[in-house]
Symmetry: C2
Subunit: 324 residues, 2 copies
């Protein structure tokens, strides 16, 4: 890797001049500019980003903290963030927090030590007080915190009501809910949406609620148990992975889906089209969420005006085969 000094020498100018043509700031003679550009070409010079970062206190890098990239909801989100950041010439450091506040904090420190220009957080173990002294632009994605940071979330509450109501309209009256971990805000909101809808339908019964922890295996076990002990004709699962688990349980018990039991998931991850029957689900604009968050972060970093701080994206029902 050639250095700027070498380019300068070859072009017969000072490093300051090279820097000027590189960053297109300051005045520089047409002639010299051409010579410098040639030198850059022949040496295949690429500026050293580390040196640049040290001076600028900014690294054209952002941190992206997700709970776990192997959770099928996140790959698309991560991809979207990477795509957008790539357009703006930022690089992304990926961090898996496993929903642990400690790991999140640790990563935030590590990222700050590297002069990241911003952080996208997909997590909510940290309170906003703990984040208050972070002094790096932050955008919160998928997991709302409070109103102190720009955020991009989908309308979990509405989606849950929509799902529950759809099952009702399909004729279900004993509608169970398999809930995700309630310390995860969106799981809580989905539960609330379900609860409110059931109440307004006059169908609320707390024994219809089960814990699935966003895991297929746990959801399957919980569903097995629920289905054998209760009369249930519809299930609203807190995510698609749990819906797949519920589907398995139903099939194992010899129930027909959707005839005997309707199932609806949440997220619309690729898996939802791969099961048989395919899953009816609430679709979140996952890619858009990531892309919007990334754009928001870039604007914050560059100090550009932000028209809207909090984005609540609409969700929609995708009818497939697991409901009538």
């Amino acid at each position: 890797m050639a250095t700027m000094r070498e380019v300068a020498k070859l072009a017969g100018v000072s490093v300051a001049t090279v820097s000027r043509v590189l960053n297109q700031n300051g005045y520089v003679n047409q002639e010299t500019e051409k010579r410098v550009k040639e030198a850059i070409q022949t040496l295949n010079y690429k500026p050293n980003e580390v040196a640049r970062s040290l001076y600028k206190k900014s690294s054209r890098t952002i941190g992206l903290i997700v709970p776990d990239i192997s959770n099928p909801f996140f790959p698309e989100l991560v991809r979207a963030v990477e795509d957008v950041m790539n357009i703006y010439d930022y690089t992304v450091i990926l961090c898996n927090s496993d929903e642990k506040g400690d790991k999140e904090k640790e990563y935030i420190d590590i990222l700050k030590q590297r002069y990241v220009d911003g952080i996208i957080l997909t997590t909510n173990q940290l309170t906003s007080e703990e984040l208050s002294d972070i002094n790096v632009p932050v955008v919160v994605l998928d997991r709302p915190l409070d109103h102190s940071f720009p955020s991009v979330v989908a309308n979990n509450y509405e989606g849950a009501r929509m799902a529950t109501n759809y099952l009702y309209k399909q004729g279900c009256r004993r509608i169970a809910h398999i809930q995700g971990p309630l310390h995860v805000v969106n799981a809580l909101e989905r539960f609330r949406g379900y609860q409110d809808e059931m109440k307004s339908l006059g169908l609320w019964d707390e024994t219809l609620v089960f814990i699935g922890n966003y895991q297929m295996s746990e959801a399957k076990i919980a569903t097995m148990e629920a289905l054998t002990n209760q009369k249930i004709d519809g299930i609203f699962a807190g995510n698609d992975v749990m819906a797949a688990g519920a589907l398995k349980a139903a099939q194992q018990l010899g129930l027909r889906v959707p005839e005997d039991l309707a199932i609806i998931g949440y997220d619309n991850i690729p898996l939802a089209e791969m099961t048989t029957p395919e899953l009816t689900t609430i679709s979140q604009p996952i890619y858009d969420m990531g892309a919007i968050a990334a754009r928001l972060l870039v604007k914050k970093i560059e100090g550009k005006p932000i028209d809207q701080i909090h984005h609540v994206l609409p969700v929609k029902l995708v009818r497939r085969e697991s409901t009538r």
Copy 2:
């Protein structure tokens, strides 16, 4: 963020001394060491990694280039790499190449500009000549290149023979193959394994081979067509995603799986357990592959001796419900 100078001032010593206690090199008085440590504590000092990188020409960061994180094979691989790198205090920059040589090259340049200490490549668009002047430690993962770089791959050829032979032993005689994109080395090897096994079984017939491009939808369409035009009693799909597509096609045509048609996939991604029937598949130790590659890279970076340069990990057959 406090700087070293501030720590030095507070402790009443020179920055050199602070550096010494920080890096535990050189001699330093017990007393002063204590004072320095206190100062570090009270200021909550964290060394500036960028400055450190500039001097050391090393950033405790590695680049991980994958084709596409949304392809369900990669999240687990990425997770493994991140986990291991995290243990050794390295940070990972994620790059999606979409199998494009240009993007790969571009990312490699960007990574080098940032003084990454190493790169893990999960791709094979670049020839080893193009990579020869890279002068950064590289480990090749999942997609073998040639023998110039350390590599970690699973035994694709054996896996394919195993899958094909298993279908044969289950009584299948007209065994089709849905192949992945042949410019992807592992897809090619799986095809070769299938071909060789079919030949040695005396069953080889080139009209039994279809293109699925590692995509569910394409595999579904190809299977539909194949199934209506041909007599086929077994399908070996180049990956699980395509196996899921084949399964859908079969079900849509009213074929029973595995009774009328046996299907076997490849990869053993989580999806394989979510379909009904669950997919019999060839299991690759995905997490291990990532972890071994990461360990290999760390050893290369730290100049430690490497006992084995090329790792070909064994695969195994996982019997589930899509075969008899």
